[in-house]
């Protein structure tokens, strides 16, 4: 048995887990060959170092938000295709939430969830356009859903006072409550104020959430409305336009 063969067998033993065991011949070779013994010790040390690296753990708030999004996608999937009903492959594919939208929603919801947890702990809401309203809409409501993206105006160098911020937040909350009482509100969240990340600007298909610098999405509402005109009426009645935000309205496909 050559040293090279022995080294391969050693690596198998170190990396292959329980399925590979050193043969008697390999063990005897290692016992008598200082070079192979040194190789074994070096590789074992390196593997132990890799195993000792910290384990990356997910952010619980982000995962909780993602769980909600996934369950919503799963419910949507099972409601459109009940177990006994077979659709075509294309129909089954269509029944799922667009992954790009899913990613966007999860990112947005996760960012908002994290921010809200922190803000709740601080018992203050330092950013404008803050909304903390959740869910409404009934299972029998068949109206389409629209996303109202609140686009913050470009920073002009002037900062809102604390009193102004409180007033903006209060108006958004009141409006969200009103939408909920009307059975329109599905979800409303404020996004984190951090810079965020923009991916794939080279291709139009990757620019789902792209907004030019200075027009950042500060938060969003998902509402039920009969059509775009209805959604526009709802948006105009909200506080966003009054406070200088622009509102982009997009219908959510499949709802």
């Amino acid at each position: 048995m050559t040293c090279e063969q022995v080294c391969d067998a050693l690596l198998d033993e170190l990396l292959g887990g329980a399925e590979v065991a050193l043969t008697v011949g390999t063990s005897e070779h290692v016992g008598s060959c200082p070079l192979c013994r040194a190789e074994l010790n070096a590789m074992r040390g390196l593997i132990n170092r890799v195993r000792a690296l910290p384990t990356p753990l997910p952010d619980p708030a982000a995962m909780a938000a993602m769980r909600l999004t996934l369950l919503a996608a799963a419910r949507h999937d099972s409601s459109t295709l009940s177990p006994g009903v077979k659709g075509t492959t294309n129909e089954r594919r269509k029944s799922h939430m667009d992954p790009r939208l899913g990613r966007f929603l999860t990112g947005a919801v996760a960012a908002a969830a994290g921010a809200l947890i922190m803000l709740a702990a601080m018992r203050s809401f330092p950013a404008p356009a803050q909304v903390a309203a959740k869910t409404a809409g009934t299972a029998t409501d068949v109206r389409p859903q629209f996303m109202l993206l609140l686009l913050d105006p470009a920073r002009s160098g002037t900062q809102s006072t604390a009193e102004e911020v409180r007033r903006i937040i209060a108006e958004h909350r009141a409006w969200a409550d009103r939408l909920r009482s009307e059975g329109r509100l599905v979800l409303a969240e404020k996004l984190s104020d951090d810079p965020g990340r923009l991916l794939g600007t080279a291709r139009a298909s990757d620019t789902l959430a792209y907004t030019p610098p200075g027009d950042r999405v500060g938060g969003f509402y998902i509402i039920r409305a009969s059509d775009y005109e209805d959604a526009k009426r709802v948006a105009r009645a909200g506080p966003a336009l009054k406070f200088g935000e622009r509102v982009e309205i997009r219908q959510i496909e499949g709802n």
């Binding site: 292959g16 887990g17 195993r51 990356p56 997910p58 369950l71 295709l81 965020g196 990340r197």
Partner: protein, 174 residues
């Protein structure tokens, strides 16, 4: 998983609870970025929904899930290669991967060395060393033969040792 495959959407919740941490950990190690890993975790579970009917129990659910995660990571790597990333604002606050990972100790050096491995080498090494998967399981996940995985793992470990030695001999060369 069989309940999910049968159309019980609620059953995805317990699956997510049980496996999302290990999938996040794997995706972070393979992508080298925690934000990307967040996206990938969601993509993985969306693919579970999309391809639920393809799970036939021939391999364990964990192996099947890891295969989906591995494919999602490869797709993301391809997508990143074909596009570019830029920050929404404050470009000065975003640093390159290597700058962000400037080694300050043995652990950081090893982390940097791992990030410099070829993706297919890193994948095999991570799944073997960190997840304790056997060559046979990894072969199923990456869609290769057991022998190919074995060779890839050996080369990856030797390459890693070389990279670590180079970095430790030149601690300021980053």
């Amino acid at each position: 998983m069989l309940r999910v495959a049968a159309g019980d959407g609620e059953a995805l919740g317990p699956l997510f609870d049980r496996h999302h941490t290990s999938i996040y950990t794997l995706c972070t190690r393979l992508s080298g970025d925690d934000q990307t890993a967040n996206d990938l975790v969601q993509e993985v579970f969306l693919r579970v929904l999309r391809f639920k009917e393809s799970f036939r129990g021939e391999s364990s659910f964990r192996t099947w899930l890891y295969r989906i995660a591995h494919n999602a990571c490869i797709d993301e790597q391809r997508r990143m290669r074909s596009s570019r990333e830029e920050p929404l604002v404050e470009p000065d606050s975003v640093v390159a991967l290597d700058e962000r990972r400037e080694p300050s100790g043995r652990e950081a050096t090893l982390d940097l060395a791992l990030s410099r491995l070829a993706p297919d080498a890193r994948d095999v090494l991570v799944m073997s060393c960190c997840d304790g998967l056997t060559h046979r399981q990894i072969a199923t996940i990456v869609g290769a033969t057991e022998g190919a995985v074995r060779v890839r793992a050996h080369r990856a470990l030797r390459r890693l040792r070389t990279l670590v030695q180079e970095l430790e001999e030149q601690p300021n060369d980053v």
